[in-house]
């Protein structure tokens, strides 16, 4: 009752108008959390309920954005703590530049996604899952918002768990399919293994500090403890971010979730893992150089292997999921560089590494959600996720094709789009660490630069393959009913994400000051802060110049070609083949075959060859597939092995409650005896 007293109300109202952005952000978070509830009172097939959900999501995002602008404009951190009656911790939230960077995708992408859902997943056609999807979609967005705001480790764990569980329900929306249930189960196990590490981490932090507040640790920690803390941070949050050996859950969950869920999971939720790492590493004192190098190596591993696996995929959404692993790898490399900068006391490396990583967080959330939403449109049109059955869609889905092309150029990190800018900042950092002041760290940075190049080249191969097989050439399956561009409700969110990619690519200097503030949080006091390079202006000018030149040249060449074109339409010549058929085209598997062969020891493709044994052979088929090495060849066999070994423990584990109570009785008696007689 106390909560609703007039006094409280007056206090809250005063807070609202005092301009504290936290009030607006909290209100936005609560609105997002609850956005799916009204729809539950409508019928299962009611599109009205879904529209209300979308409206509430939009309202929540709008309120949140107002708060976000206030927080960014104030250029100072805000904090708010409120005691609660739970045994531990407090409701302690805050917003600073780092939170603000991660808040933006949370406020934009889920709202776009839920609007997209009106066309993609209308409740009238999905009576079984529509309301649940809306409920957990908002819950995921709200939980992520509070993850970024939480300044208390207990609160953080609670909203973290809410986020993880609502993502589980979203990923298993189509749970009639056993494959979906399997991937959901793997996700649940993986995310809780991560949470277990986080619990250990926060218990250790509490042990050191005596409180659950997330504040900087003393600098005199013994090295083994520091290493343990770093390892727990990277593993605990790495499970959520999808770093390479911990990515087990990611491809399956992303592929089997509805597309707007994949967009939010990949575009925003993975970033929560990144946020955790960035937030926790500031609390620690500067780490030894080794740790920065390890982070760089982990990032490079994720990047290269993520892309190698993506190249082997023929499932559209699995491919995009592996490419998320690659992008998280790139982001981690930036964080690794900033960590090196902290160890070496070099503000420039911190600024370029962290600035690049944070910029890439934004870029990735934009182009990856664009690509996932686009993939949803394709799946709707073709009823398959296998890209080897697609082809020639650019002619029939021209709008989707153009948006997809833009997303592909952005994700390959090519100029003039946003993907390039973040990578460029990181490269600049790697090249800067070639000088004498970086001492023993420069070979690591140099190797990282070369690895980043390789990642870029692999990404180019992968996305040329994807775009080429899906949209270019001839349709591979002739029995498709004519596919067409998706409805405007699906196209508009994609176009907005694409506009974001263009804006960040053309005007990266507009976000410079926010990134600079976030970087300042990482820069140790007493170190002269390094301004993010003015050459961002150059990047902007060149991006605009390049685009202008290309557009002008196209405006010149296209009409000329139309006039010069031979009057009769011709099929493709290709050295005079009289009867080219769609089956002769390169498939995605064929396109990637050489690269997959280069990585064959790491990604172990499964190839089922056929051999002709009889004089009159039957129809045979050839099949190739790239399973996940870590999951399908290491972790699952390990679990199968343990499952076979553990039945011997049934002697003790009988599943009867009486027996367990007996164990407890015996244990307590034993302990009491020990205390009484031996102490």
């Amino acid at each position: 009752m106390n909560l609703f007293s007039l006094h409280r109300l007056a206090f809250l109202l005063k807070l609202c108008f005092s301009g504290n952005p936290l009030v607006l952000l909290t209100a936005a978070g609560l609105l997002l959390l609850a956005s799916g509830i009204p729809a539950c009172f409508f019928g299962r097939t009611s599109n009205t309920g879904q529209r209300i959900t979308v409206l509430l999501m939009a309202l929540g995002s709008a309120i949140g954005l107002t708060g976000w602008f206030r927080a960014v404009a104030a250029a100072q951190p805000f904090f708010w703590t409120h005691a609660w009656s739970l045994p531990w911790g407090a409701f302690s939230i805050g917003v600073d530049a780092l939170s603000a960077v991660f808040l933006l995708p949370i406020l934009l992408i889920p709202a776009l996604g839920s609007f997209y859902g009106l066309g993609y997943h209308p409740q009238s056609r999905h009576p079984q899952s529509g309301r649940g999807l809306g409920l957990f979609y908002g819950m995921l967005a709200g939980a992520m918002l509070f993850v970024v705001l939480a300044r208390d480790s207990i609160l953080l764990l609670m909203v973290w768990e809410l986020m993880a569980v609502s993502a589980f329900f979203l990923a298993t929306t189509d749970h009639d399919d056993p494959e979906v249930r399997r991937s959901g189960w793997i996700y649940l196990v993986a995310t809780h293994t991560g949470t277990l590490c986080l619990m250990a981490l926060f218990v250790l932090l509490h042990h050191i500090q005596g409180s659950f507040d997330l504040v900087a640790l003393p600098t005199n920690l013994p090295p083994p403890l520091l290493t343990t803390l770093v390892a727990l941070t990277v593993i605990g949050f790495g499970f959520k971010a999808g770093l390479m050996p911990l990515h087990l859950w990611l491809p399956g969950a992303h592929a089997n979730a509805p597309s707007h869920v994949s967009a939010v999971m990949s575009g925003v939720m993975l970033k929560m893992g990144v946020y955790g790492i960035v937030r926790l590493l500031i609390l620690l004192p500067p780490l030894p150089i080794r740790d920065g190098a390890v982070l760089l190596a982990l990032g490079a591993l994720s990047g290269i292997l993520g892309m190698a696996f993506a190249l082997g995929q023929k499932d559209l959404k699995r491919l995009l999921a592996y490419s998320s692993i690659e992008n998280i790898g790139i982001i981690l490399m930036g964080i690794g560089l900033a960590t090196l900068g902290r160890s070496l006391h070099r503000a420039d490396l911190i600024a370029l590494g962290l600035g690049g990583a944070l910029f890439h967080v934004w870029s990735h959330s934009l182009f990856k959600s664009l690509l996932f939403m686009n993939a949803g449109g394709l799946i709707h049109a073709l009823h398959t996720r296998n890209i080897n059955q697609m082809g020639g869609l650019a002619k029939r889905m021209p709008r989707s094709a153009s948006l997809f092309a833009l997303g592909c150029i952005a994700i390959c990190g090519l100029p003039p789009l946003n993907g390039f800018v973040g990578e460029w900042l990181m490269y600049l950092g790697f090249f800067r660490s070639m000088d004498a002041a970086s001492g023993p760290a420069w070979p690591a940075a140099g190797l990282a630069a070369a690895a980043l190049t390789m990642i870029g080249a692999l990404a180019l191969a992968c996305f040329v393959k994807l775009y080429g097989t899906v949209f270019l050439g001839l349709p591979r399956e002739t029995n498709q009913q004519a596919p067409h561009d998706p409805a405007p409700t699906m196209l508009i969110p994609m176009a907005l994400a694409a506009a974001g990619c263009l804006f960040l690519g053309f005007f990266p200097q507009t976000v410079q000051s926010l990134l600079q503030q976030a970087v300042l949080l990482w820069t140790p006091t007493g170190l002269q802060p390094f301004p993010l390079p003015d050459s961002l202006i150059w990047i902007s000018r060149l991006a605009l110049g390049l685009t202008g030149v290309i557009l002008a040249a196209c405006a010149l060449v296209f009409p000329l070609m139309r006039r010069r074109a031979a009057p009769q339409p011709m099929p493709t010549w290709s050295c005079g083949y009289a009867r080219p058929t769609p089956r002769m085209q390169y498939t995605s598997t064929g396109f990637a075959q050489m690269l997959v062969a280069l990585f064959t020891h790491l990604i172990t493709p499964r190839i089922r060859l056929f051999s002709i044994k009889q004089p009159f052979p039957k129809t045979e088929s050839f099949e190739t597939d790239v399973p996940d090495t870590m999951l399908d060849r290491i972790v699952l066999p390990f679990f199968r092995l343990t499952a076979r070994a553990f039945p011997t423990l049934r002697l003790l584990q009988q599943g009867r409650i009486q027996v367990y109570l007996l164990y407890i009785l015996l244990m307590v008696t034993g302990l009491l005896c020990w205390v009484d007689f031996f102490k």
Binding site: K395, R432, L472, G473, V557, R564, T572, M594
Partner: protein, 305 residues
């Protein structure tokens, strides 16, 4: 006055000189084989001829097919503005332009390979697959080379980086420089699809990379592609020369002459390699490119001391 003149000089060279290089290469190859060979200016004639021709567009293709040659050429021209010719400064240079340089080449590759897939033909898909595969090995090699130069010069601007060998002390830097020069020469051959990686003269589909990707382009579009390819050869030769022949004359005129002599000599070197070597088996090409990574990588390791 000087700056404007230098920019004009750079632009004139960049726009007018590249088609000369394939002519020289072909002449050298013909002479080495005891033939007379086509005129050195053959590519200029070809370009003029192609500019006046009709275009045949396949029904399968989309806007990518027409846009690709344009985008590739634009990207290459802007990249060409960042590479200094000889000991002159580059017209376009800013901190971190070396990364943009590499990525502009990649932008061209994205569009060229996409246009190849746009035709829906097996041959062109084959060429595109090879192109992107080999790029995954040649790009890290190029970056290792740039890293070695960055380590030696401490610069972040392509022009300063490439001018580093001019002032480097040969006692300490000779070994990495030699390794990087060899690596860069392999990259030069691979990126421009020359023997031993690719044979620009054969029309056996199974042996080609670049030629097979542009089979369906015709008329002015093919002209743009051929012109772009020669510009790429020119830019990478200019880049290679900074490491292989870091010489400087006393006067600007001398420097200009030096560059005008060195560039055709690079083409001669490429022509000689093509005359004495056979094309590698396609499955052995990655080994050559890994060798380029190793050369540049060992150059990098030599600096770690």
């Amino acid at each position: 006055m000087n700056t404007a003149l230098l920019i004009l000089f750079h632009l004139a060279l960049l726009l007018a000189m590249p088609p000369l290089l394939p002519g020289i290469i072909n002449k050298i190859k013909a002479r080495a084989a005891g033939r007379k060979g086509p005129p050195v200016l053959q590519l200029y004639y070809d370009l003029f001829k192609l500019a006046r021709k009709q275009v045949v567009l396949s029904q399968t293709t989309t806007w990518i097919f027409i846009a690709a040659p344009v985008v590739t050429l634009a990207a290459l021209l802007i990249a060409g503005l960042m590479v200094p010719f000889g000991s002159f400064p580059a017209p376009l240079s800013f901190t971190g332009d070396l990364i943009l340089f590499a990525y502009l080449l990649a932008l061209g590759r994205f569009f060229t390979t996409s246009a190849a897939l746009d035709t829906g033909s097996a041959f062109e898909g084959m060429g595109a697959a090879r192109e992107v595969t080999f790029a995954c090995l040649s790009e890290p090699a190029l970056f290792f080379a740039l890293l070695v130069l960055a380590k030696m010069s401490g610069a972040l601007v392509l022009a300063d980086l490439l001018h580093a060998p001019l002032t480097a002390s040969w006692q300490t830097a000779a070994a990495p420089m030699v390794l990087v020069a060899v690596g860069l020469f392999i990259i030069l051959l691979a990126e421009n699809c020359r023997i031993p990686v690719d044979d620009p003269n054969t029309h056996l589909e199974l042996t080609m990379i670049h030629e097979v990707m542009v089979l369906d382009h015709s008329g002015p579009l093919l002209g743009l592609i051929l012109y772009g390819a020669s510009i790429k050869l020119f830019i990478l030769s200019a880049l290679f020369l900074h490491i292989a022949a870091p010489f400087q004359a006393a006067t600007p005129l001398g420097n200009a002459l030096l560059f005008l002599i060195e560039i055709p000599l690079t083409a001669v070197a490429v022509g000689l390699v093509e005359s004495v070597m056979a094309r590698l088996q396609m499955r052995h090409v990655p080994y050559l490119l890994i060798a380029a990574i190793l050369f540049c990588g060992f150059g990098f390791i030599l600096l770690v001391r």
